[in-house]
């Protein structure tokens, strides 16, 4: 997780705008404290130095590339979603057929479920309502249900696959 610490240090340096060696050290120390305090909410296990120093990602460049591709995909979806929304709202006659649909989940981790839920909310026509207590079903509110079965299939194929690639 030393990567995350470096990323936090970079963020610190960029925000303060001072990039001397002292600022990097301050950034690293703050980053470490933040990681240490929020460890449990990320990894479901107590903090260990070994886990901290572990370079879990074998290929950091590939991971970075995947994240960038994911962010790009998300951005395109957000633009589409906003245009669809503007069309629906500005149409002379409102044509909406809302519905609430349950979607079975394959992602397991907290981070994965959160990312998927956020992605669904930001993409065209759907808002996440809640996740079931056993974390196996996601309930989404949709603006225009065509065929619920098709919505389920599309969400799983387009969004969940991408999230699974990044976060199990």
């Amino acid at each position: 997780m030393i990567w995350l610490n470096l990323l936090l240090a970079l963020t610190w340096v960029m925000i303060t705008g001072a990039s001397g060696i002292v600022d990097w050290i301050i950034g690293l120390v703050f980053g470490f404290v933040i990681l240490w305090l929020s460890w449990r909410s990320f990894f479901d296990e107590p903090f260990t130095l070994r886990r901290y120093l572990q370079l879990r990602t074998r290929n950091p460049l590939l991971t970075i590339w995947r994240w960038l591709r994911f962010i790009g995909f998300g951005f395109v979806e957000i633009v589409k979603s906003n245009i669809a929304m503007a069309r629906a709202v500005l149409a002379p006659k409102l044509q909406i057929k809302p519905g609430i649909v349950a979607i079975p989940l394959d992602v397991q981790s907290d981070a994965g479920i959160t990312t998927l839920a956020n992605l669904i909310t930001l993409t065209p026509g759907t808002v996440t309502l809640d996740v079931s207590s056993d974390r196996k079903t996601l309930y989404i509110h949709t603006f225009s249900v065509g065929d619920p079965e098709q919505l389920r299939r599309r969400t799983k194929a387009e969004f969940e696959r991408r999230v699974l690639e990044l976060l199990p």
Binding site: T11, M14, I15, G17, G74, I78, V79, S81, N82, M85, A86, A88, V89, L90, L94, I96, K97, P98, G99, I100, V101, A102, A117, N118, T121, L122, G125, V127, T128, L129, D130, V131, S132, S133, D134, Y139, H141, F143, V145, P148
Partner: protein, 118 residues
């Protein structure tokens, strides 16, 4: 006007347009759940537009550009969560969805005592 100012203006205008759409949606749409769509979605591109406009105007100072990008990232993390919490709270307190909301696969799935969702 310099080209930079024109670009700033254009991007900010796109943002403002979507914020206006979002407000119109809040008024026009029939029930809380569809209104959350308007607030939670059109808002996002609106915010991107306005913040990006500010970032581009101050493009010579990379600190400001970075801060704007960071603000956008945080907005993307928090806005969907707010939409989700609103919807969930509304459903739990019994706000009825509009009439032809079909299917409603969430109806009756909450345990009224424990609020566990099955």
């Amino acid at each position: 006007m310099t080209p930079l100012e024109i670009l700033t203006l254009l991007i900010t205008l796109v943002g403002v347009f979507f914020i206006v759409v979002s407000s119109i949606g809040l008024v026009r749409l029939p029930d809380l759940y569809t209104r959350v769509h308007a607030g939670g979605k059109s808002g996002t591109l609106g915010i991107i537009g306005v913040l990006l406009g500010a970032g581009i105007f101050f493009i010579s100072d990379l600190r400001i550009v970075f801060k704007m990008l960071l603000l956008i990232a945080f907005f993307f993390i928090t806005a969907p969560v707010a939409a989700h919490m609103l919807d969930r709270a509304a459903f739990l307190t019994g706000v009825k969805p509009m009439e032809d909301t079909t299917p409603n696969e969430l109806a009756g799935r909450y345990d009224p005592e424990t609020r566990q969702l099955s």
